[in-house]
Subunit: 210 residues, 2 copies
């Protein structure tokens, strides 16, 4: 009468949770928060409707978990990239490249986070805004440092950092919504140059290729 889960069942439960999360990622990425029903997710995951409620408190929690997953992934990747960078300029450049790389590798998650999350629960939409805000803060600090060092001309670091983050947002949205640019990291080269120039760095002539 003592029931204790075997490893086999544990694995099954874990696999089920993953199946549900994956199904949710697919559905939310394609149809948005309001366009996706729990039934849709259950069907795709191959489980009953009630099963989902054994794993996640409710629909909001499920969506929030996904957004959070994306959020952590992006921040973590950028933080790691910055660790290996020396100068402020290198930090900025490394951040940009890391952000584009991680998005390119997780297109569905990016779609949930950037395209669909604003359409979800207001609290969840706030999360995306908060992420962009945090990224802008990082940039702002770098820019202020560089201004103090005389590497960049005096300017409103706040506006510059918002502008900086904004360029990414728009380019990534283009990639997500119509596949242009086709290769995000390749386009990154131009984007990096645009922002470095925008901030006031001297940038070597940007050749179209190689």
């Amino acid at each position: 009468m003592v029931y204790r889960r075997t490893k086999k069942v544990d694995q099954k439960l874990e696999a089920r949770l993953q199946a549900i999360m994956q199904a949710a990622r697919d559905e939310f990425a394609r149809n948005g928060f309001y366009g996706t029903s729990i039934k849709d997710i259950a069907r795709r995951a191959g489980v009953g409707v009630g099963t989902i409620y054994l794993y996640l408190r409710n629909k909001d929690a499920l969506f929030a978990a996904l957004v959070n997953e994306a959020y952590e992934m992006v921040l973590d990747r950028i933080a790691r990239a910055r660790k290996n960078a020396g100068s402020g300029r290198q930090k900025l450049q490394a951040s940009m490249e890391a952000a584009l790389a991680v998005l390119q590798e997780n297109r569905d998650l990016a779609r949930v986070m950037l395209v669909q999350s604003p359409a979800g629960h207001p609290a969840v939409a706030e999360q995306l805004y908060d992420l962009l805000h945090r990224l802008a803060k990082l940039v702002e600090e770098d820019v202020e440092e560089e201004i103090a060092r005389g590497e960049l001309p005096p300017q409103d670091a706040r506006i510059a950092s918002l502008a900086f983050v904004g360029t990414f947002y728009q380019v990534v949205m283009g990639w997500l919504k119509e596949g242009v640019p086709a290769d995000l990291t390749a386009a990154g080269k131009e984007l990096v140059a645009y922002n470095l120039r925008g901030l006031g760095y001297r940038v070597e002539g940007v050749k179209e290729d190689g």
Copy 2:
């Protein structure tokens, strides 16, 4: 038995329609599409629920009408600003200033269009994306012209124009969501400088203040 509307009634009807539209603008701007019920709008407009359906087909149509209103206003304002501009650089600068000015003058509408519209019906969200896309196209043409003229260095005009539009999106979102910058058109000066530098123009030293 022949009933013909008098001018007085016509005016009353028009005023009522406007009251409904204004109430919808307020509510949608604050609570988004799904967070706003027809009842909310009716209450704020001081009319019965059914009355709204005498003026507008349904909730979607009401929302779409508002988004469209914002859309037209922005495009129109930019088009007019560009007419008075000579060089490509002037066209770009005039577009930027016009966009910021019209948004600053219509904050609620801007909020509906930029913050809440993606949360509405997918078809309506598409409209916002389409607007940004159109603006990017305008920029792209200007940039290509300037490259051909040798006024700007060779670059991927597509990426540059997306980046350009993106800077605005982000700064305007900051203004809408937390009031930073407080004065959009004032911040515009920095923003214009950022983008002109980003594109590759030589920009005179940007002083912090007048």
